[in-house]
Structures are given as structure tokens and as C-alpha cells.
Amino acid sequence: MTRRLAALVALLLAAPASAETIAIVDARLMTMTGAGEIDGGTIVIRDGRIAALGARVAVPADARVIDGRGGVVTPGFIQADSTLGAVEVSQVPTSADRATHSAAISAGFDISLGLNPDSILLPVSRLAGITHAVTTPPYDDRRGRALQFAGQAAVIDLAQRPQMVTRPRAAMVLEMGEGGAGRAGGARGSAIVQLRTTLADVRHFAAHRAAYDRGEGRPQSLSRVDLEALVPVVQGRMPLIVKVDRASDISEMIALAREEKLRVIIDGAEEGWRVADEISAANVPVILDPLADLPRSFSELGATMENAARLHAAGVTIVIKTGSGVAHRARELRYGAGNAVAWGLPHEAAVAAITVNPARVFGVADRVGTLEAGRAADLVLWNGDPLEPLSQPQALFVEGVEKPLTARPLDLRDRYMPPSP
């Protein structure tokens, strides 16, 4: 193969989508930008990019027209705190690469390595309008609560292509509160001291790398890879996801973040509403599951369906997720957002909590989370309100690539469904 031909092939493979013009017409556009919601809108997608959108946009003559009448277009949804791409069957450990129990690789665990673009969970999640996920390591505690950090999360896309990582090492994951206490000898006070010590060690390591390499560094409880991984955290370049639920734990972590100059994201926050003003004043985003309304532990006694609405009303940036470390049930994301609306969250805020908010919180807002001209199309056309179970997607694009609305469970359905009479 000549070099020119090879270059051409490479170019074709790298092209975001087929060279085609598509127009979605007569739909309600939820842009998640200052443009707000546009009724009777048109989106023109050319070569995978949004060429134009609005209420008065001409449909190019060569466009393939998708009738969106009665429908809604949203940005692709983003499932936070997910293990998509890192698991096939939850109880089959060999099918999962989501967590580590190696004490030598805790903060250093990088989930963006070794993900599976062929996972059948990705198209299943796409059927629920999800185009991206924040694949976030949970803790593997089968051999005890040995690890301080669960590792580093990554933003991925669900297009089923080899380059599936939108943003690697997007955040570090740490459990504090009740769970963190269990990792540090059994008490919250111990976990906080351990965390402060770790942060001091990382700062010392960052300032004295050469000495460490000469074997002259001070003794460390963490491995070298863990120390390296934590440097961006102590420098405020990488956000730290802190999993806590109890109101006092949230306050404690906000104070610690202020003192240590960390960027934290509170995850869980079932009692977040009790300290909503404090979270808002600290400008700390919150990831939450709106359906978590039960006192499942002594840290969650204040859990309520109104958590999302109350945090939003206080000015907190909320990210809605489904459960914890969700993979198979990621497809329920929009139902959680809908329930938050039933319990007082404005509809647009609920859609923001599964699109633009996670995009901003995890540093990919320049690519996904909104409908904007000039961007690769990352969007879903729905035949109704996207938060209603009775609505279904009609078309879906993942960063410029239109994906068919098929998945293995639909193949199974079609194999066994009797032919219609």
C-alpha cells in the first residue's frame, strides 16, 4: 500500500460520520444552552456535526429528513457513577474490570485502560438515550476493606468503537463517612486523619520526586503509582469524588476540601438537603440518586425523594445517577430524573442533571451535554417527553455517529416473539 493510500484509509477511518446531511424537523429542542427550549425546531446535521439548529432553519435539499413531530431532541444522556464498559455480568468476576483489590494499586488504578468497546451493555444503554458514562471504579471489598482509594474514573462514549475514552482520569474516587471509616480502622476520625496524612505525603512526594527516586524519600504508606496518581488531586487539577451521605460528613468534607484546596464532588449525599446552603456556598457539585429515599444505613436516616429538588433550589449543581456503580440498570437513568421532577425538580433542571451538568463536572462540556451548532451531534430524538417510560428514542447520535437502535435483548425478543397475526 502506498503511503498516500494508507493516509487516505486512515482519514476515512477517522472521519466522524458518513458524509451525509440529515435534518431532524419539527421537534422540541432542549438545547441545555442559553437558547433554552425551542418548539418546532429543526436540527441540520452535516457530516456528523450540527450545522444549524433553531425554529427557522432551512432544510437543505439533499438532506435525509427525520420527522420529529410531537417529539423532543435532547443532548445524549450521561450516566455518572457507572461501570459501563467495565463489566458484562456482575457476578462473573472474569467479565469485569471495574475494581481492584491490589493494595499496591489503589489511587493508581486507571479504569480507562482495558475497557471493552464490544460490551453488549453499551447498545442497551443507548436505547435509553445514554451516549456517555462516567465509568467510575467501585471498591472491591471481597477481601476486606483494604484500599483507601477506589481509583480514577473516566468519561467514555457508548459508540462501541476502539477509542471509547472521551476523557481518561477525569476524577479520583474516595469513600469517606461510614464506608471510609471501615477502611481506616473503624472510625471516621481515623479516616480523616489518614486522608490528611495521605495528602501531606503526596505533596511531599511531588516536591521531592528526585529524592524518592534516589531512595531518600520519607517512608510512605502508598505505593509510588498511587502517589503519582494523587498529585493532580492535591494540585486541584483533578476533582476528588467523595462518597458520603450523612449531613455532618458532607460538611466535614467541604471544610477539608477548603483547607486542603481540593476540588471535590460529593457523591451520594442522601442527607445533602440538610446542608444544601453550605454545599451551594462552597460551589461543590453533587451526584445523587433521586430514588434513594430509604434509611439504608445510619448515615442515610434523612434520605428523601425531595433531595434533588431541595439541592437544586439552594443553587447546587446536581448530577443525577442511577444507583451506585450502575451498568445493566443504567437504562433507568431517565426514570430517576423523571421521579425527581415528580418530587419538585423543574423538568429542565432534571434534564440538565443528566446532560450538561455531568459534562461540566467531568470536564467534557466542550464536546457533549448541549445542542450547539458547530459541535459533533451527540443527541437523541424521542417520540415524547424523554423522562416518561412510555417514550422511546427514534434516532440517536454519539459524537457525530448515528447508531442504530438495536441491541442483543431486541435480537432475543425478535427470535422468540411470535409473528404478528
Partner: protein, 467 residues
């Protein structure tokens, strides 16, 4: 059912039978008669909430008998449904509730719950009383003895319209124990919630769970063939036990009565058709095996629970008249649920079968209507024509059938118990919330009235109390 206390107190003076008929009054006791055993030793003390005469007027009513009534009226009187229909006249003496723009359905029934037995806070080990994983056959345990009525999950479920639930033991054993059917009323005792006259169920588990639990302990069952051998061995013992009791019975209860055996009493109760088999089983091939086991030993399976591959054998399940209690969205957490599809309930329904949307979960039980909506949406996506008037049965009439209480609850029709939910919206909408809930004609939840929120003692004085 009223408890025959004398049976226990004066047992030696009584005659009775092992596993058939009710305890007999001691009219003519033989001096040497063996003790009868009381088949209802933990009887219901349930009393209906204060009953009112209520007319719900102007709602869209899904009766779960196949009707969707616009501008419907539902009359409740004396704890029963008195009438239902379009634009009915409201007789004098009824309190009228304006339900225009709202929806009315039968009370939600969950065919699969562990509330109370694995109570909140569920992360506290002391609250996990659901799985007696000490022997593959624990048919002797009754899950009602694990139920803690203060589980805050009961309150959350009531606020979501759940009026009746079957509580099951877990699936770690081949035979998990007896189920219990409860009415979702605030109560200090389990007996105060117990659904009067509801039959018991026996939890049986197929597949991965029992073989994992016991194989992991180096004992049988360690394989699926070990599972089936375990069932067969137990049914052989149960047949033998039933035969000995029957023989003693037929002989006029002369001679020494066979010793009571809690495990075999439950299994014999299944063979007599008095206890309903509630079978946790995922895969189509395993369900077919269980049907053969039931034929081999002459009992009926009432419901396959989870049953995510029911769609592969929907006509068989319809022919056998076995209900399928399943989800729309759960799948993939283990190998045996890898082939789960959202259309499972719809395909069972379309084959003429008894489809049920169940929870198995304290969160999902709060939104069985939404889970059913997801299942219905999948049906529509597949081009399967099912309307809301039929899909409502998935969490009302059909679980009532599975639990053996369909003559009393599960539909809105005259004479049925007045278990009713008034919804803010179409219950198949994500935005619908239960506004008021009645059990036996008495109000048990009113979202506008704080007296009906948060009954559990556990949350009293806690941050969760005034959520």
C-alpha cells in the same frame, strides 16, 4: 381466621388431623387421641382501618377487569366496593372526593417483597433475617417470624399505593420456607398486618443461588443436577410423611400419631394444594424442569418469580396456568439473567398468560407502576398491542391471583375489598404519585395530611422523621 386457642391449651383432649381439614372441635375426643395440630397458630389480628363511605368522582378508573372508565365514579361502603361506573349518581351519605383529572386503580399488590424480613436500615446485619442459609431445605421456617413491622420500607411502599404484599424468604436455599401475605397497614405486630385467610406459599429456588451457597460450603447442592436431586429427595420424604399421616387419619386416628415435622408439614401442605408454590427460577430450561418435578410428585406451581426467560416458553406457562412475576429493567447481574428482556411480561401477557410486575426490592416496590410502564413501553416498541386497562393487571389483579386472594382484592368491582389508590396522574406516567390510599375502605395514606406520613417508630426523633 380466628385462632382456635383451645387446640393448643387442651391438646391431649382433642382429635385432629395432620394435614387436611381445619382443627376439629373437641366434641367427642377419644381418650388416647393424639394432638391435633393447629394450622393457623399465628393468626391474623388485622382489623380494617376506620371505614368511611366514600365516592371518588370524575376520575379515569382502571378497574383491572379490562376496563378504562372515563369520568368514572367509585363508591366504597362497608369496606367494599359498592359500585363503579361512568357518571354514576352518588347516593346520600357518601363523602364525595373530586377526582377529576386524576386516576383511580385497585391497590397495588407486590407478589415479591422482603420488607420487614430484611428491614431498613438494611446495611445493619442485625436487620437481615431473610435467608436461613444453614441448610438447603429450610421448609420449616416461616418468614413471618422474621418480619419487623417497623421497617420504614412498609411506609414508603404505602405512600406509593402498595396495599398488599407477599413477603418471601430468600433464595439461598432449595426450599426457603413459608411466605406470608400482609396488608400494608401500620401495626406493632406482624399478626396485625396478616391478610386474613390468605394461603401460605412455599419459596423454592432454582439455579445459581442454592448451588453457590452450598457448593461454596462443600456440600450439596453444588450443581443444578444437585438442586433437582435435592427437590426430589424432599418430595419423596413429603409424600411418605403425608401417606403416614393419611393412613393414621384413615384408621380413625388410632395408635400413635406420626410425630409432627415442621419441614414436612409445609411440603405436605403443598402436596394437598393448600400451600402455593412460589418458585424463584430464571431460565426457561430450568422452569421446564421444575414443571416436570411438579408433575412427578403431583403438585402445582403457582408462580415463577423473576423468570426472566419466561418469554422463551410463554405458551407452556400459559398452558400450565403458572403466573410469571418479573421486572422490566433488571438483567445481567448474573449468568442466569443474561437473556432478560424488557418485553418479558408483555410476551407472557400476549400468549394469554398471567404476567406480574414484582419488586424484590424496597425501592422498586415504591414504583411498580413505573416498572410496569417500562414493560408496557417495550411492548409498544415491539408492536405488541396491550392497553393500559390490561397492563394495570400486572401489579393488581394478576399478583392477587398468584397469592390466592383474587376473590377479595386486585380489581375494582362490586363486592371486592375496597383497596383503592387515587393517583395524581395516569399511573403509567413517571409523574404520577399516589395521593390517597384506602385499604378495606379505610384511608391509610393521604399525601395532604401529615398524620399519614412516617409511621415507623425507628424514625421517630431521627433526622429522617421530618423528611
Amino acid at each position: 381466621m380466628r385462632r382456635a386457642a383451645f387446640v393448643l391449651l387442651t391438646a391431649t383432649a382433642l382429635a385432629g388431623c395432620a394435614a387436611s381439614g381445619r382443627p376439629q372441635p373437641a366434641s367427642a375426643p377419644a381418650a388416647d387421641a393424639a394432638p391435633v395440630f393447629d394450622r393457623d397458630p399465628y393468626p391474623s389480628t388485622y382489623h380494617a382501618p376506620a371505614v368511611e363511605r366514600v365516592a371518588l368522582v370524575g376520575a379515569t378508573v382502571l378497574t383491572a377487569t379490562g376496563e378504562e372508565i372515563a369520568n368514572g365514579t367509585v363508591l366504597m361502603e362497608g369496606g367494599k366496593i359498592a359500585a363503579v361506573g361512568a357518571s354514576l349518581a352518588v347516593p346520600d351519605g357518601y363523602r364525595t372526593i373530586d377526582a377529576r383529572g386524576k386516576w383511580v386503580t385497585p391497590g397495588v399488590i407486590d407478589a415479591h417483597s422482603h420488607l420487614g424480613a430484611w428491614a431498613q436500615p438494611e446495611s445493619v446485619d442485625a436487620h437481615n433475617d431473610v435467608n436461613e442459609m444453614t441448610d438447603p431445605n429450610t421448609a420449616l421456617v416461616w418468614v413471618e417470624h422474621s418480619v419487623w413491622p417497623q421497617d420504614p420500607g412498609f411506609d414508603a411502599a404505602r405512600e406509593a399505593g402498595v396495599t398488599t404484599m407477599m413477603i418471601l424468604p430468600g433464595s439461598g436455599n432449595l426450599f426457603g420456607g413459608r411466605t406470608v401475605t400482609l396488608k400494608n397497614v401500620p401495626s406493632v405486630t406482624m399478626q396485625g398486618m396478616k391478610f386474613p385467610g390468605a394461603p401460605y406459599g412455599l419459596k423454592i429456588a432454582c439455579g445459581e443461588n442454592p448451588k453457590r451457597v452450598y457448593g461454596g460450603k462443600g456440600r450439596s447442592p453444588a450443581t443444578r443436577m444437585g438442586n433437582v436431586a435435592g427437590y426430589r429427595k424432599a418430595w419423596i420424604d413429603a409424600q411418605d410423611y403425608a401417606r403416614r399421616r393419611d393412613k393414621w387419619e384413615a384408621s380413625g386416628r388410632t395408635g400413635e400419631a406420626p410425630k409432627r415435622d415442621l419441614q414436612l408439614e409445609t411440603l405436605a401442605g403443598v402436596l394437598k394444594g393448600e400451600i402455593l408454590v412460589q418458585n424463584h427460577c430464571y431460565r426457561a430450561d430450568e422452569m421446564a424442569n421444575m414443571i416436570d418435578v411438579s408433575r412427578e410428585f403431583g403438585f402445582k406451581i403457582r408462580t415463577f418469580h423473576h423468570a426472566n426467560e419466561a418469554y422463551k416458553i410463554a405458551p407452556l406457562l400459559e398452558k400450565e396456568d403458572i403466573c410469571v412475576a418479573t421486572w422490566a429493567s433488571w438483567w445481567g447481574y448474573k449468568m442466569e439473567v443474561f437473556d432478560a428482556i424488557e418485553e418479558n411480561a408483555a410476551l407472557v401477557h400476549a400468549a394469554g398468560g398471567c404476567a406480574i410486575i414484582h419488586s424484590d426490592d424496597p425501592i422498586v416496590i415504591q414504583r411498580l407502576n413505573q416498572e410496569a410502564a417500562a414493560a408496557l413501553s417495550a411492548a409498544w416498541r415491539a408492536g405488541i398491542r396491550i392497553n393500559k386497562a390490561d397492563a394495570i393487571r400486572w401489579f393488581t389483579a394478576n399478583p392477587a391471583k398468584a397469592l390466592g386472594i383474587a376473590d377479595r382484592v386486585g380489581t375494582i368491582e362490586p363486592g371486592k375489598n375496597a383497596d383503592v389508590v387515587l393517583w395524581s396522574h395516569d399511573p403509567f406516567s413517571i409523574y404520577a404519585r399516589a395521593e390517597r390510599v384506602w385499604i378495606d375502605g379505610g384511608i391509610v395514606f393521604d399525601r395532604a395530611d401529615v398524620r399519614y406520613r412516617r409511621h415507623s417508630d425507628f424514625l421517630l426523633g431521627q433526622p429522617g422523621e421530618k423528611r
